[in-house]
Symmetry: D2
Subunit: 184 residues, 4 copies
């Protein structure tokens, strides 16, 4: 299973690229241009998360900083934007998925855990993302969400995650996609 | 095929209920409480559209005005909210679908034509809505979108609509739902 | 003292114009175009409040419906917009005041009671509005805010209002404006 | 005249503190917690700018990272938030000024250049900020705005700035404040 880890400063990059399979740029660092430039010089796959007030255009421009450095392995991730709605932690901008798919060839990932912030809505929004054309999902899972140190409120138990994978597989097939085999 | 028409003032109600199958309350009238009270006294099915800056809670409170009058036939419709994102006309709040399904037994409808405003994204978001649990869709169709008097930019041709219906059927089945037979 | 009253439907207009000095169109009716057309045919002064998700451009377009009917006596009112910030009930768009002043000759009014929603911030924002160029203010006052039937949380006592008027007078003079004499 | 410079990464701090009078944390770094911790260990005055989608509460929490390190010299800066309104680059949250003044003893600064993005509205919003209780202003000035490398659209000429200072002085006195003497 691939190791994905969030990089938060330029100083961490050199060490992290030795051990991780994917470097994640968190929403708060989407416009940390010095960091984007440094990871653009690596060849490690990057998961670039949209800032919570970033437009789709700004997400694409941020990706250009990485691509311009010569690293073509960039995935774009919708993780919810900040709006007036308070029933969920963020508002999943599901429109962003077809918009991004029409504007770029980079893979588009959805993070329904952060974009809803509430575990009971993760499955519905995960399925929506796949139906809308997302190329991947990131889902928070925890053995004991109630006692998680962070993000417990949005984490699925392994059992619920296993059920969700089956449901996602069905939706993926309905839109003529397939789940990739898991790399153990 | 049922006739759905938008009612915009109290004065129109008496005449319209004689001829239409569904009265639509548009987003701008979601909090027109005098109108909500009057249609609550009828028994015609109501399609209540969320205001573009209305919270989910406010949508539910608006529905209570109709229900309190004795008319239980209310459908709730997500049609996009206003956010900072300008790539699409509105932002489809896909989270609203599972949130509403968890809070009420009223049917939940998605209007991807208004919630995206751009015909090229309607199909993706329509499928997302069904995958997220929506009970219905409203889709704008026009024989000649380029020359439509209004909303042409978001309207599908009949051919594209026919294709979309087939795709939606597949997604519906993937989430264990079915398309209702069309009433001619 | 002039009588200002909110009109909420076309049916009320005929009676109200006989008794009120100013007809107010509330934020929820800013795009009630049938109502705007009817009051455009009267000659009573109109206070047109910006919808809570309406752009400045949409506010101006709404005013055109009234002006087009031949009624030139329109005042535009900023009363706060809906954003992600929850510390106050709405976000006062203070930018809207100079923007409107540059785009139209209509008087521009600020309603700091609604745009903050909290009485303790009304004075600061009222003064800001005058400093930014507003031509008038609407302030909620109640003899006993804690027991008001509505909007108590944002209402000033008469004593606080009297203090505020003195402060506003000072700010108005600092920007070379004057308070109009009160019509008793 | 004091030197204010923006610090964008931890690596820059050690050198910058030798030469600048004030370290600015830009809106994009408001939640760069590793940077906040490092500057909390210095004793240089900090200008902490609100993120464009950050709540007032989050701004205060970010300031706590600096204060917790033992550096009490923190100024908070409102520089506009992102909303649906597009007539201006950002929306000046003028409410934030009295809200911050009521919640903290830290100085509160307004940046009307960024919060409007358009030089023609800077003066009105600067005066509004002072009337609302701001303890300071940051204003972009450029000898030749039309040819500025960045932010020319929101920059004042020295002549307009000199006029604005006189106007701000009048408003400050109207709210019983004074301009500090300029340090040359």
């Amino acid at each position: 299973m691939p190791i994905v880890a969030e990089v938060m400063s330029v100083a961490q990059v050199e060490l992290m690229v030795k051990y991780v399979d994917v470097l994640q740029i968190g929403a708060r660092n989407m416009q940390n241009f010095s960091l984007l430039r440094v990871i653009g010089e690596t060849r490690v796959p990057i998961l670039l998360k949209r800032g919570m007030a970033a437009t789709i255009e700004e997400l694409l421009m941020a990706s250009e900083y990485i691509l311009a450095g010569g690293n073509p392995r960039v995935m774009l991730c919708e993780r919810g934007i900040r709006t007036f709605e308070t029933a969920t932690r963020n508002t999943t901008d599901i429109n962003a998925i077809p918009v991004l798919k029409s504007l770029t060839h980079l893979p588009v990932i959805l993070d329904p855990s952060h974009s809803t912030g509430l575990s009971e809505y993760v499955a519905a929004v995960a399925k929506a993302g796949v139906a809308a054309g997302a190329d991947g999902l990131i889902i928070e899972v925890h053995n004991d969400p109630a006692n998680a140190l962070s993000d417990g409120r949005q984490s699925l138990t392994p059992e619920k995650f296993a059920t969700l994978v089956k449901q996602v597989k069905m939706v993926a097939e309905a839109v003529e996609r397939r789940l990739a085999p898991v790399i153990q």
